[in-house]
């Protein structure tokens, strides 16, 4: 006989549970069969999570003197906190409450009511045995470092950094390229309003660059992260710029004089050139150039130094070396953005073989007034203005052979291109699409506008693009072959230029980034949010947030909104000054620990360290997330988790197997 006074509450969840579990019977059974185990109250109620349901518990705690509470309802994922708070309000330590799931693990998966009811009884019985072992706990509190790290200086990262900085807190921004700005800096116009990308982006970039609260590292990367929410230590690698930023005035003479021209695969998307010493574009922030050592003649052959000779301030420094900085930050926002799908993977579209097949990013550079053609839309020969252009939707998206997902922005981006081609060349434009996806504000209106401009819309995924003429009139053209599915006929459309609206893909190094920051990514490689609907900016790792396309394909407005949302979460946390953490932690019994170190590498949060002089392992409670991996792994049985000790788990199993109804004494000594 347990000395505890336990209350059991069985939830109907409308018909979610009551539909396949006889809740009244479960409650009656618990009251009778588990009476000897300490159950003094047992009730069922329509919605336990409602205020009335919670009050029921509170009232019983006060009136019946309950010392333990078991709620049989949905998954702890959803309402554990609700019921713990209810207990707290009622005057019971919140950790003396167990929520067992008879919905996800029972009513939703069993069609048979009799079976469901019996299983629910077993689950309740397990919960009762477990709760007997629960101990009163207090949440952990750690102070929070107000400095925030933002990784990635695209529009999402910029927005996040400015929000935090403007709230008065320090921000460190790390950007891999020589300048911030991300992909948006490559565009000329942005849909749906067609405002000039640079006009709206550069003021933000400048603000980041000059903000007293922002410390900016460009041409830099994060190489190590340790610590935990509120107290991360981050190592930043500053690649050697070969330019002394204290001396450089950004005059640009070095770039002008540098004799070494290289194709720029990043900013110009391979369609234009830069020098070996360069800033990616004139409005770059910061204004200081970098020397690309892989291409610089001096670094390759030991001679040249033209930049050094002409630099009026003597800022060129060939001897610089990579530097490593370690900084302490409290929270981290990841806004690393996207990569473009490599269209060469679809050979039948001819990219890389057929000169006048372009990718979307190449086309952005073609239309950009600061781009390689000064904004003139021309064929790859650099002079011929196309008379007909085909724009191909869904290239590498919505296709099981490449990426199954929809890239979300490319329908609108394709419509933008249709408009720009019309405006700049007057050419005939053919958009080949499967479905037209224009769901955001002002987007459908933009589609209307492009329709009115006379764009030809052909519903059909393109089968192939070829230069092999089959019929007269096709010679010398690119022929786009597709089925016009609305007519049910195969078509061959000869055009001068083809633009492939390629998919947005996760950054190529997503695995490395996820590992570095201890967060997870989806099968495709997008960083995973804590909850797809209710918590789209947090991650499962406390203190690490995500924003922009790193989380999934999205447009600029959504990236900005997400950046701002992540910042709001960060600022909210900073203002609390300290962070409360679940006290559910593992601890190692040092007398039992044999020093085998097996647990050390098992912990996904790097929470276990080895104390050399005592030859035992130790858990850092602030890092431990209570996952239980080490508890199961320890061969000496030295590790135990609060709330999930071996005894508690075994007791719960006994309860599930209804051993507790037999005459064995299971009560804690």
């Amino acid at each position: 006989m347990s000395k505890e006074r336990i209350g059991v509450y069985v939830c109907h969840c409308g018909s979610n549970i009551a539909g396949t579990v006889d809740v009244a019977e479960v409650s009656r059974w618990a009251g009778e069969a588990l009476k000897d185990r300490g159950v003094v109250v047992s009730r069922d109620y329509k919605f336990m999570c409602s205020s009335l349901g919670q009050e029921l518990i509170q009232k019983d705690i006060q009136e019946q003197g309950l010392t333990r509470v078991v709620v049989a309802a949905c998954s702890p994922h959803l309402h554990e906190q609700t019921f713990r708070n209810a207990c707290k309000e009622g005057g019971l330590n919140p950790y003396l409450c167990e929520l067992v799931s008879i919905r996800e693990q029972c009513s939703w998966i069993h069609p048979d009511k009799a079976v469901g009811t019996e299983k629910a009884k077993a689950i309740v019985s397990g919960g009762v045995e477990k709760v007997i072992w629960d101990e009163p706990l207090e949440p952990l509190r750690v102070p929070i470092n107000p400095v925030t790290l933002v990784v990635g200086g695209g529009i999402a990262g910029i927005q996040a950094a400015l929000e935090v900085a403007n709230a008065g807190y320090p921000v460190i921004m790390v950007e891999r390229e020589p300048s911030i700005g991300g992909h948006m800096a490559q565009f000329d116009k942005t849909f749906p309003t067609l405002d000039c990308a640079a006009c709206i982006l550069t003021p933000r970039m400048v603000e980041v660059g000059s903000h007293p609260n922002v410390k900016l590292f460009t041409y830099a990367e994060v190489t190590n992260v340790s610590g935990y929410v509120g107290n991360f230590q981050v190592t930043i690698k500053q690649k050697a710029r070969s330019v002394d930023t204290d001396l450089c005035t950004g005059c640009g003479i070095c770039q002008e004089k540098c004799p070494k021209k290289v194709i720029d695969p990043v900013f110009e998307a391979g369609l234009g050139y830069r020098k070996a010493v360069y800033t990616p574009f004139p409005q770059a922030v910061p204004k200081y150039p970098v020397i690309d050592r892989e291409n610089c003649t001096y670094f390759l052959k030991g001679t040249c130094r033209a930049c050094e000779k002409f630099c009026p301030t003597g800022a060129i420094d060939f001897t610089q070396e990579d530097e490593y900085f370690t900084v302490d930050v409290g929270q981290i926002i990841l806004a690393t953005g996207w990569d473009l799908f490599d269209a060469r993977r679809i050979p039948q579209y001819g990219y890389g073989r057929l000169a006048n097949v372009f990718t979307s990013l190449e086309f952005e550079r073609l239309t950009n007034a600061a781009g390689p053609t000064g904004g003139k839309v021309v064929l790859r020969d650099g002079v011929t203005v196309p008379k007909s252009v085909a724009i191909i939707h869904c290239v590498g998206s919505r296709d099981k052979n490449y990426n199954p997902y929809c890239s979300a922005i490319c329908c609108m981006q394709s419509l933008k291109f249709a408009h720009l081609v019309h405006e700049r060349t007057g050419a005939e434009v053919y958009n080949f699409y499967i479905d037209m996806r224009t769901p955001a504000k002002g987007y459908e209106e933009f589609y209307q506008r492009v329709l009115e401009e006379g764009t030809h819309f052909i519903r059909g995924k393109v089968a192939e693009i070829t230069d092999a003429a089959r019929y007269p009139g096709e010679e010398g053209k690119l022929i786009v072959q597709a089925e016009n599915t609305l007519v049910g006929k195969q078509m061959r459309v000869p055009v001068d230029m083809v633009i492939l609206s390629a998919a947005l893909e996760p950054r190529h190094d997503f695995k490395e980034v996820a590992r570095l920051f201890g967060i997870s990514c989806s099968e495709e490689g997008w960083l995973i949010e804590r909850h797809p609907k209710l918590d789209p900016v947090a991650t499962m790792t406390e203190g690490i947030y995500i924003a922009g396309c790193a989380q999934g394909p999205k447009d600029i407005p959504a990236s900005v909104a997400q950046g701002a949302a992540a910042a709001a979460r960060v600022v909210g946390k900073i203002q609390q000054k300290e962070i409360t953490m679940e006290p559910i932690r593992a601890s190692i019994n040092q007398d039992k620990c044999s020093g085998c170190r097996i647990c050390n590498n098992m912990c996904p949060f790097n929470a276990i360290s080895f104390i050399e002089d005592r030859m035992v392992s130790e858990v850092n409670p602030a890092l431990c997330q209570g996952c239980g991996t080490c508890v199961a792994a320890c061969p000496a049985g030295a590790i135990s988790g609060t709330v999930f000790s071996d005894q508690a788990i075994l007791a719960q199993l006994d309860g599930l197997l209804l051993n507790n109804l037999k005459a064995i004494d299971l009560t804690p000594a």
Binding site: Q348, A468, A469, R470
Partner: protein, 322 residues
């Protein structure tokens, strides 16, 4: 290396040149072919349209026959249709135990059995480029095909569909193995955009105009690219492009002249072998002018009007014979 060899009906008859040339290059390349004992037709693309189980049983009989050979588990087919049929049957039998059981019930009626996955079904081109390798081939070239512009033509079934775990041995949209092989032989290889397009299979028999159109596209493509000849690896493709080229020309009122040879013949020529020994001269679209560019002399084809054997079935008489 030893291989079981499945010639297929075409190589026995209309594509004997392919067979002859494959045999001719086997020795210098160190390949030993053991013909599958008493093999039967693979059903081409026709049988499966009529009866699913019977079509697989027909193919599986060959697999069963071939798996009796103990010295090798590699089964080579030079014909793309046979290759795909054998490969597909083997893959589906391995994938689906119920199909495997059904087919084996049928095979048992003829005293045979086959377990999916026992053999590795390969196309002759795959074996030549991947087992023998470009280097070994290059080492044997004595008369490089210098100055000859060739259009490499793969057709469909050698690269499509992607089947089983290993998929295909070359890209289904833009294969390159034959291109590389011909380069190794010294030829000028054009980047032929239609290289994996369809020759039409049996389409000429079902809709003449459709079939001819498919042939026209390929012949026109190779002509536009100024190829001297098309190099193929499938008897069906050769038949369509070569034997039907004349009929296609009269259908469209065109006058294309595009010879079509087998890759095995090209290897043989580069190895310095005699054109006649490679079956060159049996093509209907004369390849002499093209081959003269590389100094190959093709003997005048001797007229071989054989007397029909006793058991022969009646032939429809051709109007011109009267």
């Amino acid at each position: 290396m030893k291989y079981s060899y499945f010639p297929g009906c075409s190589l026995e008859r209309n594509a004997s040149a392919y067979h002859v040339s494959a045999m001719a290059i086997a020795e210098p390349l160190g390949m030993e072919f053991i013909e599958v004992d008493d093999w039967n037709c693979c059903g081409a693309t026709e049988y499966i349209s009529l009866n699913l189980t019977a079509s697989y049983a027909l193919i599986a009989r060959n697999l069963a026959q071939a798996s009796k050979e103990t010295s090798t588990k590699q089964l080579v087919a030079p014909c793309s249709a046979c290759y795909l049929n054998l490969k597909k049957c083997d893959a589906y039998m391995k994938e689906s135990p119920s199909l495997e059981e059904k087919i084996n019930t049928a095979l048992a009626a003829g005293g045979l059995s086959y377990k999916g996955g026992t053999l590795k079904v390969r196309h002759l081109l795959d074996v030549v480029v991947n087992d023998i390798g470009y280097d070994a081939i290059a080492a044997k070239v004595t008369k490089p095909l210098k100055g000859l512009r060739v259009a490499p033509y793969y057709g469909c079934m050698i690269v499509r569909p992607k089947l089983g775990e290993n998929g295909t041995f070359d890209n289904p949209e833009y294969p390159t193995t034959l291109d590389k092989l011909l380069k190794v032989l010294g030829a000028t290889v054009i980047d032929f955009p239609l290289k994996a397009h369809c020759c039409g299979g049996h389409m000429t028999q079902i809709s003449e105009s459709t079939g001819f159109e498919l042939i026209r596209r390929l012949i026109k493509g190779a002509t536009d690219y100024k190829a001297d000849l098309i190099v193929t690896l499938c008897p069906m493709c050769q038949l369509n492009l070569d034997a039907f080229q004349g009929a296609m020309n009269s259908h469209f009122n065109t006058s294309y002249h595009m010879p079509v040879l087998y890759f095995t013949q090209m290897i043989g020529l580069a190895f310095g072998m005699d054109a006649a020994s490679l079956g060159i001269g049996t093509e209907l679209v004369d390849a002499r002018a093209a081959l003269a560019k590389i100094g190959v002399e093709v003997p005048e084809a001797e007229l071989v009007v054989k007397k029909p054997p006793k058991e022969a079935l009646p032939m429809p008489s051709m109007p011109e014979e009267k």
